[in-house]
């Protein structure tokens, strides 16, 4: 039986949203649309050989990689976080409203830094952040399981460096 498209989109909305933001921070809505369309188009080909979640990840990552190759926008390089914005947040850090704003900025910075990684590394870190183990990451990305650990270590270090360089601690 053909899976229900709308239900699939609802069930995986969160991960499609996060993948979209990690690959196209500024234009994530466009990428979200592209992924949704790709899922809709590919549903006929889904034969239930893989788990639906694994399949969604594959479709989403493939679409996101193609999209980012096409667009080629390095958001953080081109649009660094405005220092005035950081200062304003720091000055008002005590109030809960600003705390929320700072937290949002940190989250956005995380997305932007993920966006600066090589596409395949973005996929790996997203899967780890989503709580998948090495075997699942290997299954989805097609990367050998025994190299995942080393790769993840390098990716995390690179990500922390990017966060630091882009003022994570000042937020």
């Amino acid at each position: 039986m053909k899976p229900d498209f709308q239900k699939i989109l609802q069930d995986h909305n969160d991960i499609i949203y996060k993948i979209s933001k990690s690959f196209a921070f500024e234009n994530y809505q466009d990428l979200y649309q592209e992924i949704a369309i790709e899922i809709w188009r590919s549903l006929e080909k889904f034969r239930g050989e893989a788990q639906i979640k694994t399949w969604i990840y594959r479709v989403a990552f493939n679409t996101a990689v193609s999209y980012s190759t096409k667009v080629k926008r390095q958001v953080v390089n081109n649009i660094p976080i405005d220092p005035a914005e950081i200062k304003a947040i720091q000055e008002n850090y005590q109030t809960s409203k600003e705390q929320a704003a700072a937290s949002k900025t940190k989250v956005n910075l995380l997305y932007q830094c993920i966006n600066m990684l090589v596409p395949v590394n973005r996929s790996i870190i997203i899967l780890q952040l989503e709580g998948h183990d090495y075997e699942e990451i290997s299954q989805i990305t097609g990367i050998k399981i025994n190299t995942i650990g080393v790769k993840l270590n390098r990716i995390r270090n690179r990500l922390f460096q990017l966060l630091k360089d882009n003022g994570y601690e000042r937020l």
Partner: protein, 197 residues
């Protein structure tokens, strides 16, 4: 290297509620979905109808060949109605859809659909034109059959004449149907679908 708690940050961000449902996705997506589905439906309709009409024309040709009956005016009227009515509906649908596309990003799709719409309009005109031709053919055949005394010229010659006439009608109908009606519309339709794919 300092270990930031990126896992917590990652979990903090939750997809907006609004993107949970298809009907609240940006309109360009839902439009793209519906027009894609409709275009495929029109394409299928084209090929089904064309196949059915070929069978119908061949059947009428055989009927004429073996029983001396021509394609009746009734057949022609039904053919015209079944051909034209679904397309009138689609023309109105696409006209509304094209009007609703306002953003520059969709200009290519708009142009593509506009040429499809133009060819569909041409198709409708051709259907009416062919209907008139079939009508004239039928009247001519009726007159011919009334004038010629088949019994006096012999069964063989009569069969030959009817077979040739049947062949001419069938061939002209199929060739005309395909070349002058379907070809342009189907090409434009395929272009529109290819653009959306």
């Amino acid at each position: 290297m300092k270990d930031y708690n990126i896992e917590d940050l990652w979990l903090q961000d939750v997809a907006p509620e609004s993107s949970f449902k298809l009907d609240v996705l940006p309109s360009s997506v839902t439009s793209k979905f519906s027009v894609f589905r409709e275009l495929k439906r029109v394409r299928n309709l084209f090929w089904w109808q064309w196949s059915m009409e070929i069978i119908g024309i061949l059947f009428a040709g055989f009927q004429f060949m073996f029983h001396g009956e021509s394609i009746t005016i009734g057949n022609a009227v039904i053919a015209m109605l079944t051909s034209a009515i679904p397309y009138c509906f689609y023309i109105s649908y696409f006209r509304r859809f094209i009007k609703s596309i306002n953003d520059n990003k969709s200009q290519n799709m708009k142009d593509s659909l506009q040429s499809f719409l133009d060819s569909l309009n041409k198709y409708i005109k051709n259907v009416i034109r062919l209907f008139v031709i079939i009508l004239i053919f039928n009247i001519a055949l009726y007159v011919l059959v009334s004038i010629i005394d088949f019994e006096s010229i012999g069964r063989l010659v009569a069969d030959l004449i009817t077979a040739v006439l049947a062949f001419v009608i069938t061939y002209a109908s199929i060739a005309g149907w395909f070349d002058f009606m379907y070809k342009d519309s189907v090409t434009e339709l395929e272009n529109a679908i290819r653009y959306l794919e």
